[in-house]
């Protein structure tokens, strides 16, 4: 799969502008992941895990700074991009602990999720590094962060084995299935989003024009400035409208 995507990755990372934007985006994802880990450290009662989560969070914060700094260096003078693009789906960076409600998570599930997220990130970053021969600084950044992700991957697995003892394998499979389910939900909601946008846009152009005309006529009759409110309006009714 990775080798199939390689030409696509090459295309994505070839443009300095897109590279800058992706790195800035990764910085945000890493910072968000760091905050999730801080939250995990605040909630756990296991002192070893608390210290490990804090150390991991510090790494994520450092990665965020590194990505941001390189992104800004690459993007000097470029205007910021508005909104997401299709490429954000194809080269996601680290997903961190997205969609995870830290306070509702069992410790074992959380560690399994961290392990899988870090593994995916290490794999992705290695792929990105392999197509960045033309940009040694960004390449070394991915190599450096990728090594950290491998540490994260290993410590989370070791701790999962400690916390869940015999059940770690089952938890990992469960986490894999959850990631798959979440990926499906993301895809399904994206498709639903596109479909509803198309339908609403059709309605906008087919159904709304006569009402738009009326609304525009009504707007012309409105006076600028204050609207005087009726004396009885102290909203005693408590209604929705």
């Amino acid at each position: 799969m990775a080798s199939l995507l390689r030409p696509l990755y090459w295309t994505i990372w070839a443009s300095p502008r897109r590279r800058a934007q992706k790195l800035l985006q990764f910085a945000e994802v890493e910072a968000e992941g760091g905050r999730d880990l801080v939250r995990a450290s605040e909630l756990t009662v296991d002192p070893v895990l608390r210290r490990l989560f804090l150390a991991h969070a510090r790494d994520e914060e450092r990665h965020a700074r590194m990505f941001r700094s390189r992104g800004l260096a690459l993007g000097v003078g470029m205007p910021p991009r508005a909104g997401n693009t299709m490429f954000d789906w194809i080269s996601p960076g680290e997903r961190g602990l997205d969609d995870l409600r830290i306070k509702d998570e069992h410790l074992g599930s959380l560690l399994a999720f961290i392990h899988l997220s870090e593994s995916a990130a290490a794999r992705d970053f290695a792929e990105y590094s392999s197509v960045l021969g033309h940009d040694p600084l960004t390449r070394s950044l991915f190599d450096h962060i990728g090594r950290d992700e491998e540490h994260h991957m290993r410590y989370s697995l070791a701790q999962l084995r400690r916390v869940a003892s015999g059940g770690s394998r089952a938890l990992l499979w469960k986490a894999r299935l959850r990631r798959l389910w979440k990926a499906y939900l993301r895809l399904a909601s994206a498709i639903a989003g596109i479909m509803s946008t198309v339908l609403l846009t059709i309605q906008y152009f087919v159904l709304l024009p006569p009402f738009a005309l009326l609304a525009k006529f009504a707007m012309r009759r409105e006076q600028p400035g204050w609207t005087v409110l009726p004396p009885a309006l102290d909203s005693k009714s408590g209604r929705e409208f």
Binding site: R35, A158, L200, P224, W226, T227, S235, E240
Partner: protein, 589 residues
């Protein structure tokens, strides 16, 4: 009566519980979810409020939502129709946004809380702001001015309120300004233009304005004009927010003011572009102030009341508030500790109690501490587990030690009692430091708050000493109570208060009435005995991008991750040095 107020779904969701006319709990959802400005339905905040009072949802007499969703939907739909066909991109987004959840509030509240739909009431958005401000202010009658981006249709209202012990409390909103003409959205457009996040970065524009010269006021008055009746009107050719979701200003706006700032690039005051940005910030700020002052002067002439109650997000602009106090003719200006949408949860509950149900007025305790308390023993346990030096000492010795540490340049994380309701840390979840050293301010910015260097820090001083250090106009103590006004630092003290004096010689001072936070007041006295200046730098206990800490564990993790030297929770004190770190590489073995 037991009434729960809720604000949600736009920014800064919150819940507040009022029992027999008095608040018993109020808290923002972000303090539990740890997502800054969390707008989600505030289930955790609601649960905490109910737990605090030992209530089950079915025991509530009413649940009040802070605005009228159907009326809001009417505004969004009508705006899309009026800007047809330019609104074709924003229309699907707006419809999905409203129809997905925001329109069905009664059903959501009923199903989430298990209360019958008939118990769910609604208050107007600006009525909630007005109630939050007027019904909590220590005055019997007052003029009311609310201003924010937009509620349902209203963007600004003026009115008057009267309190009566005999079921006669009233809030009369006399006039409203309607969307899209909005002072809040005007300021937000400049916030976006200057590269800051809308609904969050407005205070940065205010801070930046002090560096500039208001030499673009005439240009600003091209985009916002006064109407004959004293209101205002935006020239919509310069704005995009009414027809597009992505941007708030149009190409004509950038033709007038030049290219917008790239949010990723710092503001370099030495560059031509940097000067342009600060001058634009100063000009937009000046126009906002001039318009507010003018409207308030007219309101004072109309009502004749000595008190003005301000509400809505615009009331967070401390520079404008101070000018209102000085120039509007009102003797006192009251801004509640949570004037934004979060405060509407409390406003809506008080509105229902006093006005919808006609209950007699009761004076609301004049403090912001309506949130969860702390468990100091947690700090003892956490620190011991991490081999951090920790001590439990008696009150006098503890405060004395902290005053010594502050005088020696330490940055102190201070947790005491119940959490503040609203965006300001007012002495229960604060970072404290000496106010004299600009290097300390830079250290705070660099190692702890990680924020732009142009943003000032605020001082806290007791009522007794406030006039010695700050030029406080008559009535300024009221604004200073919740850090809602910006006032000049007396010239002779500016150098010795360098860490809290902004570039224009002002400070957003908290004037502390000792009974409101007695331990902090004592600490200020002790610090004053050592330094000769009973003033401290007081900023919120959080890191960049995070909400203010709530629990001791959150304070502790903030302490561990930043350059804070010392943390205090109740009578427990921990210091940096010698703590255990866990190496990830070793843990992986």
């Amino acid at each position: 009566m037991k009434i729960l107020g809720i604000s949600a779904h736009y920014h800064d969701a919150a819940a507040a519980l009022v029992i027999d006319g008095l608040p018993v709990a109020a808290v923002q959802e972000e303090r539990f979810s740890r997502a800054k400005n969390d707008a989600a339905f505030p289930m955790a905040a609601i649960e905490w409020c109910l737990d605090q009072a030992g209530l089950e949802p079915e025991q509530l007499d009413a649940v009040v939502f802070y605005e009228q969703p159907a009326l809001k939907f009417d505004r969004i739909l009508t705006s899309s129709l009026r800007s047809f066909p330019h609104s074709w991109r924003s229309f699907p987004k707006a419809m999905k946004n409203m129809l997905g959840e925001k329109l069905w509030i009664r059903g959501i509240i009923a199903s989430q809380l298990g209360v019958p739909g008939r118990k769910v009431l609604f208050s107007g958005h600006h009525m909630s702001h007005a109630a939050a401000s007027f019904l909590t202010a220590p005055c019997g009658e007052a003029a009311i001015l609310t201003a924010d981006g937009v509620g349902e249709w209203a963007t600004m209202t003026i009115g008057a309120g009267q309190k009566g012990k005999d079921h006669a409390t009233s809030i009369k909103l006399i006039r409203e300004l309607r969307f899209p003409h909005s002072l809040g959205l005007f300021y937000s457009a400049f916030t976006a233009f200057l590269g800051f996040a809308v609904n969050e970065g407005e205070y940065k524009v205010m801070g930046l304005a002090a560096y500039g010269v208001p030499n673009r006021v005439d240009d600003v008055y091209q985009v916002i004009q006064r109407t004959a009746d004293g209101a205002l009107e935006l020239d919509l050719r310069y704005f995009d927010f009414h027809s597009r979701a992505e941007t708030s200003f149009s190409k004509r706006f950038t033709d007038l003011f030049g290219p917008p700032r790239n949010p990723n690039e710092p503001i370099d005051l030495a560059s031509q572009d940097g000067r342009r940005f600060v001058d634009i910030a100063a000009s937009a700020q000046r126009v906002l102030e001039d318009i507010l002052v003018d409207i308030a002067q007219a309101l004072h002439r109309e009502t004749g009341f000595p008190d003005l109650c301000l509400g809505g997000g615009v009331a967070l602009n401390g520079v404008a508030n101070a000018r209102l106090l000085a120039e509007s003719g009102f003797e006192r200006v009251s801004v509640p500790p949570a004037p934004g949408d979060a405060g509407c949860a409390l406003g809506a509950a008080l509105f229902a109690d006093r006005i919808h149900f006609g209950q007699p007025h009761r004076d609301v305790p004049d403090h912001p501490f309506w949130g969860p308390g702390i468990e100091p023993a947690d700090l003892l346990r956490l620190a011991r587990e991490d081999d951090i030096p920790v001590e439990e000492v008696d009150e006098d010795a503890l405060l004395s030690d902290i005053a010594d540490a502050l005088w020696q340049g330490a940055i102190v994380g201070w947790m005491d009692g119940a959490l503040e309701f609203g965006p300001r840390a007012l002495g229960h979840r604060s970072l404290l430091a000496a106010p004299h050293d600009a290097a300390l301010r830079d250290r705070l910015n660099r190692d702890i708050k990680y924020r732009e260097e142009f943003r000032p820090f605020a001082p806290v001083v007791t009522l007794e000493h406030a006039h010695r250090f700050f030029e406080l106009a008559p009535g300024a103590e009221r604004l200073g109570r919740f850090m809602s006004g910006v006032f000049p630092v007396r010239r002779e003290w500016r150098e010795r208060l360098a860490a809290v004096t902004h570039v224009d010689g002002t400070a957003r001072v908290q004037v502390l009435d000792p009974p409101m936070a007695p331990r902090l007041a004592r600490l200020l006295d002790l610090y004053g005995q050592r330094s000769g200046i009973p003033v401290l730098l007081n900023t919120s206990f959080n890191l960049a991008g995070e909400p203010i800490v709530n629990t001791v564990a959150e304070g502790y993790s903030t302490f561990r991750r930043s350059g804070i030297d010392l943390m205090v929770a109740g009578s427990i004190c921990v210091r940096k040095g010698g703590q255990r770190h866990e190496a990830l590489s070793e843990a992986a073995e």
